[in-house]
Structures are given as C-alpha cells and as structure tokens.
Symmetry: C2
Subunit: 352 residues, 2 copies
Amino acid sequence: MVMLTKELKNFIMQKNIVDTAKQAMQRAIEHELDLKSLFPLSATSSATFHIADFGCSIGPTTFMSVQNIMEAVNHNNNQASTTKLPLEFQVSFNDQTNNDFNTLFRSLPAHRQDNYFAAGVPGSFYGRLFPTSSLHFGSISSSLHWISRVPGELTAAGRRDSIQCTGLDEDVARAYSGQFTRDMEAFFDARAEELVSGGLLAISALCLPAGAVLAQTGLGMIFDLLGACLVDLAELGLISEEKLKSFYLPMYYPQAEELEASITKRRCFSIRKLVKMAPPSPEKSQKLIQTSDSQIRAVSEAIIKQHFKTITPQTVDLIFQRLKEKLAENMDAITSPTTLHHLEVFILAKRL
Amino acid sequence: MVMLTKELKNFIMQKNIVDTAKQAMQRAIEHELDLKSLFPLSATSSATFHIADFGCSIGPTTFMSVQNIMEAVNHNNNQASTTKLPLEFQVSFNDQTNNDFNTLFRSLPAHRQDNYFAAGVPGSFYGRLFPTSSLHFGSISSSLHWISRVPGELTAAGRRDSIQCTGLDEDVARAYSGQFTRDMEAFFDARAEELVSGGLLAISALCLPAGAVLAQTGLGMIFDLLGACLVDLAELGLISEEKLKSFYLPMYYPQAEELEASITKRRCFSIRKLVKMAPPSPEKSQKLIQTSDSQIRAVSEAIIKQHFKTITPQTVDLIFQRLKEKLAENMDAITSPTTLHHLEVFILAKRL
C-alpha cells in the first residue's frame, strides 16, 4: 500500500464532491450519533470523543474532514435536550509507517481549539491499530482501493495483459477480488474491535459504475497507458522484461455493491447511509485529465522504483514523459462521452 | 527546548544508572499502582492502560523505559488477588513538533505484543497534550532541564559572563530559576489534568548536588568551554558579537529539593518515592568526557545555528574543533576528584 498524495486526492475527489460528502456526512452523523449512549456516565466529568482517520496521508483534506466530523459532533451535543457534555476530542491520524508524519505534524492546524488533541498512529489499517472499544468515530477516505499486497498468484505466474486489474482477464480479476475480500475482512474485523458499540465509521471510496470494468473507465485507461509506457521501455532494454512480468499495481476498485457486501457480511456493522455521488462534469474531468501525468506519477513512482530496484532516475523521467505523450494521443478516447467515470461512494456504518 | 539525542542520553544516563532507575521504578510501581481502583468497572471487558513518555526523542532508551513500565504493570496485574484484568497498553510518545517522528516510528519495536498500541504526540510538554483524565502513567526522563525559553530579561539585557546559568551571577540565576519555576508549574498543571486520580508520574532528572552551582560541576565546565569557543570566534569576527550577547542555553539544572518543591507545591501530586542515584565512577566519567565534544555538539548545534542565523557550516565545525582542543587542555580540572558530578534523581509521584 502506498500513501495517497494530497494532489491525487484533489484530483479524484474534487471540491464539489468534497462538499457533497461533507453535507452527507454531517447529516448522517446528526441522525446516527447518540452521544448519551456513548457516554452514559459523563454527565458532568469530561468525555473524550476519539476520532481516527485511516490512511490520512499528509494533509489538508484530512484536517478538513476531521473538522467536519467535530462540527457535526458538536452540533449534536449542542442540540441535546438534556445537559451538554463537556466534550474533548482525541484525533488520531493513521497511515503506513513510511508516511511523512513529520510533515503531517508540522502542518496540523496551528490554532486548534483547547479541546482538540492530536496524535499520529503508524501502521497498516489492515491490522489492529487501537485498543479494544477505544474509538467513537473512524473515517477513511480514498484509501480503501489500496490493497495490502498484489496477489501472490499473479506475481508468481508472470504478467498477462496489464499492470492492473482491468476486469477483462478473469484470472486476474479473481485474484484481485480475492485479495480485496481478504483485506476488507481484515479491515472491518479490526475496526469492529476498535469501535465502541454505537460508534460510527465513515467511508468515502471511489467505486466502479455498476456492471462496468476498470478498462472501460477513464482512470483505468490512464493506468493502462502507464503500463504501455513500461512495455515500451522494456522493449528498449531500459527496464527488465523479467521484472515487468511480475509488476502489478496494488489497487482494486470495487463496485459499490462489493464494498457494501464486505461491510454487511461481518454482521458487526449496519449500513445507515449509502450515497453514490454524481461524477464531475465532462469539462472538469477533461481539465483534470490533461494534467494527470503528474498525478499518476505522484502515486506510482514509488511503487515503480521499489519494484524495478535498479531503475535510473532518467528512466523514471522517461516513463512519465512517454505517459504525457500517450495521454495527449488518447485524450479523445479518455474524455469521450461514452467513457465511464468512477463514482464517489459515501457510506456511514454503525458498530452494532 | 531541543530534543535530547540518544547519544547524549547515553552520555548522561549510563547503563548502570539506567539499570538502577529500572529497578527503582519497577519496585515503586509495584508498591504504588492500584489497578483495581484505576479500572473499577473492567473486571471482564478490556482495560486500556495509557502510558505517555514526555520528551521521547527518537529512540531506544525510550522504548526500554516503556517496556519496563509495562513489565511492572503486568507484574501487578498477575499478582492481583482477584481476577486478572484483560489489559491493553496505549503508549504515546511525545516530543516537540521538530522531533524526527518518522525515525521514531520506523524504529518502534517490530515485534510488539498484540496488546501494545503506539502513537506519536507532537507538542511541548509545557502545555496540554492529552484529554482530561486520560493517562494512567506519565514518564519523563532527562528532559525537564530543557526550559521552554531563555528568560526574556536576559536576552534583552545582553550577556554577562556565561552562555548558561552557572549559578555564579545572581541576576542570571534568578532569571533562570524563575523560568524553571514557571515551566514546572505549567508542566505539573498540565499533567495533573491529564492523569487520572491514582495515576503515576515517573521523573528521571539530572540535578545539581546539594548546595552546588553548575560552574562547579564537570558538565557546567564543559558548557562553559563551549561559551569560551563562541567568544573566541566572535573575536575573530566569525560570529556576531552582538548576537553572542543574547545567546544563552535554554537549560537549567535544579537541585533535587527545587524539583521536589515544584511537585508538592501544586498539591495535586504526592511524592511516593525519591531516589538519588550514585554518580558514575571517576574512571567511567573520564572515559565519557574524553568523547564529550561530539555529545555536546549533538545537543547544542541546532541551538547555535538557530541563534546565529547566518553562521556557515565551516564556522560551526570550527566551534566544535576548538571545543575538542579546550576539553583536552582542561581535562585534568574537569575530571579532578574535587570536581562535582550531577546526580540522577528518580521521583515517583502519584496523582491525588
């Protein structure tokens, strides 16, 4: 798994979507959060509301999302018919150990309120990160498509047609979907133990449109072009053909129903809200795609370097120079009205 | 305040002292920790014991110290006459935002037990860092001598004889001691709010021998030599004389009684154990002092660079080259049997 840069988060979660997600989340929290039952004993003594952001990366989007959650919780508290709780917030920012926590900590909102305490928690969210029943709210945004590893059967067998799960090759699709299922099981098992009964989990994820496969979407096409660049460079002898055979991107975009099933299957969570947000307008998409080479570089460069260990910086530059060219050549197909777009899906689940 | 490198921690807290501190701490925890009263409701459900290490720096010493605390807590739990609590540990590592948390996180013990959850908490320990009544154990080792700032009246007035509080100049001593008192007030006020009633605070600190002033100790002499190096370089025109006038080290070594008074004064803590550990043997001290130039560089370089903003790397090198020479010239005086040594003081205080 690789951290998602704020650039790519901005790229895939545009401002209008963030705003819609914000409103959906705030309304859902207001409906579903029952502070009195979470803090039955805290009428007078202080109550700490513990929020965790999973896959926080390094910044601004995360801080805004946490702010939205706190606003909604405060709103609930202020609307309470009985005594207002003396709330404090413990906010834990989680990401892989290789995330740049130094930068994250330096960019924490400087003038936080007195009752906002921040911490960083390193580690994979496919395992336990917090003590049992210690969280009141978990949030994960644009990170669940990073599977924990490329399925071993694929890298062992050698590559078929693509560096990703396009959905067109059945074996590849089965291997990826199996890994996604196992990862989701681990994710929801860990969160089920960490969240208190009545606690909430907010998930924002990019999903494939119903019935579609990745190869039919703009994002899928872009990553396929990246694959084509790698093939070109292997043919030129600049990267190892052998290594290319075992190169896959550790990303899997489920359909919303697949994600939904992975939540309900565990019987620990109940889905209280599921919103499929409209894709961005074609004009906005086109604008974003025109600069997508740098965004794709931001997410894939580290993965490429890690896999092709001896790759030179010049070769890496060449890959993304080629990608820019290929994007220009294929812009019409990528932005065509018949090309499909990913959906931003927002789910609010409650720990039973 | 500047982080204490593990090298300097090793330099001032030698292994024999660490071992003595470990035993003193374990025995004190076993006497003073009452898990049943800390977790009255947790006979069957899991109980999270929250440990915070203040001024953790980047490593090994901190991890060992936390391990000692967990062992002692587990020992208490196993000795319990009634049911054993299903304990989990939340360990929070705190240091200034400019601490290298990335390195800290990468060097966390790789095979931690399932019930050991780690987090990093950035910020000054002279303010609130955790929610109200959320800590069961606080630990601070070799960090309380870093005062939050050099007293403003000193930097405004221009330097007297030394870059530190040697204890020989009354005005300087009063300014430093005033800052230390204010800082301790802030430190213990914050910890009093964060610790639950019955929670413990373990403090390890280097203190001056009773009745002594810093100038009479080996450590004081070494830092005075650093001051002499800066004067030399100012005379050579390599650093600004003007800037030198306002340069002070933000360190203050109290006498044990001064530290003790700052705890009991707040009436929130009761001192349950106070141990003054024997200084290292003269042979060991001598060995350590012979390589102390690099240790002193580790703690003071960043402070010097920050103050003398335009200083070149060559000038910085020159400072510590001179220090090495001056240390060699003054080795006899520093290691003489009449020269005093700092005391390692261990205090265990209980939140009332």
